[in-house]
Amino acid sequence: MKLLFNIAWTHVSARVRQTLVGMAGVAMGVGFTIMMAGLMQGSQIDFLRQLVDTMPHITVDDERRSVPTQPAEQEYAAVQMADIANVGKRPGIKYPESVMSSLRSWIPGDVAPSVTTSAIIDHGGARIGITLTGIDPRREVQVSKLAAQMREGKLDDLSRAPNGIIVGEALAEKLGVKTGNTVLLVGGQDTRLNSTVAGLFRSGLKRVDESQIYSLAGTAQLMMGQSGVVNQLRLRLNDPMSAQKVAAQVEAQTGYKSVSWQEANADLLSTFTVRDFIVLTVMGAMLLTSSFATYNIISTITHEKRQDIAIMKSLGMREYAVRRIFIIESIIIGVVGILFGWILGYLLCYGWSKITIFNPLTGTTVPLQIYYSAMHYVVAGGISLLCCAGAAYFPARKATRVHPVDIIRGAS
């Protein structure tokens, strides 16, 4: 092996310029791939983090996923009931406190009750449909980052102002309201409520900031005309990624529809999958093209060294050993190229992180988020190395297959 390496080394070190070009090709492929991976995953993780920070990880609603079996169905198997409308008021979650304490005993996180309804916010002629979530400010801290997302006022201010509400900054801007202003809330049964803007928040998610408002649970119940009802439990988990699993367990235990944040945002997440696929394809192609220069060099060397190949084979070196010389050469080029590619990739990522850009998802101008992961470096390097080995294999195989006698006859 040492012998093969020595021979390989003499070949590449005798061709400094060509070798450098090959290394530069590999370095650029690896560098740009790392940059792309960092950018893509950075923006994705940034977005997911905002999603996870803003949304409850699991919401438990007072509905069931399928229409519950009717007593008549249970009694008489022959009868099937269909189209049974849930008319009237929201049923609410039964005994919410005992459900919550039983959940608290095993879920890795916390749970808080809330009252969710839809309403129309009316201010100065502008009418906008919104989701009103009634919360308990003391318990809210355990299940959401709302307290930290407050731009003006505090969660506690909800109880100080009459029918206080907390409005997203984006919505406030649309309506032209400020903290302390009074707006009109119009509910389902034409309940009308004058409420005071007690504070502003910004989650960073446009969708939430434009259509979500918070109030005390009592205010929301008033809007629904159902005092004392709790129609949603919101869970926050220590590990947001386990939400899907925990949601299924909660649903099995309580019978209530439990939706993980992943399920709630399935449409968004599926666009990520498509995006990931496209990006991976492009990166793979980039790494493949970056090994073309290496292919070129190895082809040239195998051609120039036909005589040496013949003589090594005639001396009794095995064909695959001779072939390995050229694969080692390409790996030398690859490894050095990859090392430079890593440096280049890091520098490019660093450069991008200094650039601020308008993010339409959050509606803000922030520095580009770069995700630094050793995995990017390992995977880009590994694939690149494979491409280089492959790029060397084919010309090397062709050259080492030649029968030594044919070359020796030709040369003498």
Binding site: K2, L3, N6, I7, T10, H11, A14, Q307, D308, A310, I311, M312, K313, S314, L315, G316, M317, R318, E319, A321, H403, P404, V405, I408, R409, A411, S412
Partner: protein, 239 residues
């Protein structure tokens, strides 16, 4: 009782093609251990072709080659390479040294490929071989810093590296001047006298006369064998 180092049995090498061509046409030959055999013949008679077969560099179309009693016709390409590495040493008209390597590294190449000795032992043997061929001071020179005769001697040292039973040489002196030719030939003669078997193709009748046996080839067949026994030449015609 002499031991047969190399034996060819009804050796045929044919090239199939649009026009088929028979390079070697039924050669029977036994070379004893320590014997020095010269192969002569007109140009295009198949001397090189025969030599490639004897050195296992090429595979016969028919017939068998036995090296130290071992048949070789059933061996795979890799096994033939292994036999070449340890049992046969090649010297060609052109030196075929690796240009990037020094003389010593070139001589070490077959030993390193075989990997049977430690690096220290290999270097010791490599230097000893170069020294015995009068190349002591040239061990660290590259082929392009050596004269033609010196290069050919390095090539001989390389052929001897793994102590092969058989040395085959195809016109090793073809490109050398008289002095260098004389030197290379006496080296080959010494090798045979020390017990290794040497088969040499040459055009030079004077050199062929110094061999133990001269085999004259015409059209891929043995035309004449000349033995040199106890100073007097015994001629024998083979039809």
């Amino acid at each position: 009782m002499t031991e047969v180092a190399l034996q060819a049995v009804e050796l045929v090498r044919r090239i199939e093609g649009v026009v088929s061509h028979t390079l070697v046409n039924g050669i029977d030959l036994a070379v004893n251990k320590g014997e020095f055999v010269a192969i002569t013949g007109p140009s295009g008679s198949g001397k090189s072709s025969l030599l490639y077969l004897l050195g296992l560099l090429d595979a016969p179309s028919e017939g068998e080659i036995m090296i130290c009693g071992q048949p070789t016709s059933k061996l795979s390409e890799t096994e033939r390479a292994d036999v070449r590495l340890t049992k046969c040493g090649f010297v060609f008209q052109f030196h075929f040294l690796l240009p990037e390597f020094t003389s010593l590294d070139n001589v070490l190449l077959p030993m390193r490929a075989a990997g049977r000795m430690t690096e220290g032992e290999m270097r010791e043997r490599g230097l000893a071989l170069l020294g015995s061929l009068g190349l002591g001071e040239h061990a660290n020179k590259r082929p392009n810093q050596l004269s033609g005769g010196q290069r050919q001697r390095v090539a001989i040292a390389r052929a001897l590296a793994n102590r092969p039973e058989i040395i085959v040489a195809d016109e090793p002196t073809g490109a050398l001047d008289t002095a260098s030719t004389e030197q290379v030939f006496s080296i080959l003669r010494d090798i045979a006298d020390q017990g290794q078997t040497v088969v040499v193709v040459t055009h030079d009748p004077a050199l062929a006369a110094r061999a133990d046996r001269r085999i004259h080839i015409v059209d891929g067949k043995i035309a004449e064998i000349t033995e040199r026994g106890g100073g007097e030449l015994v001629c024998e015609m083979v039809s």
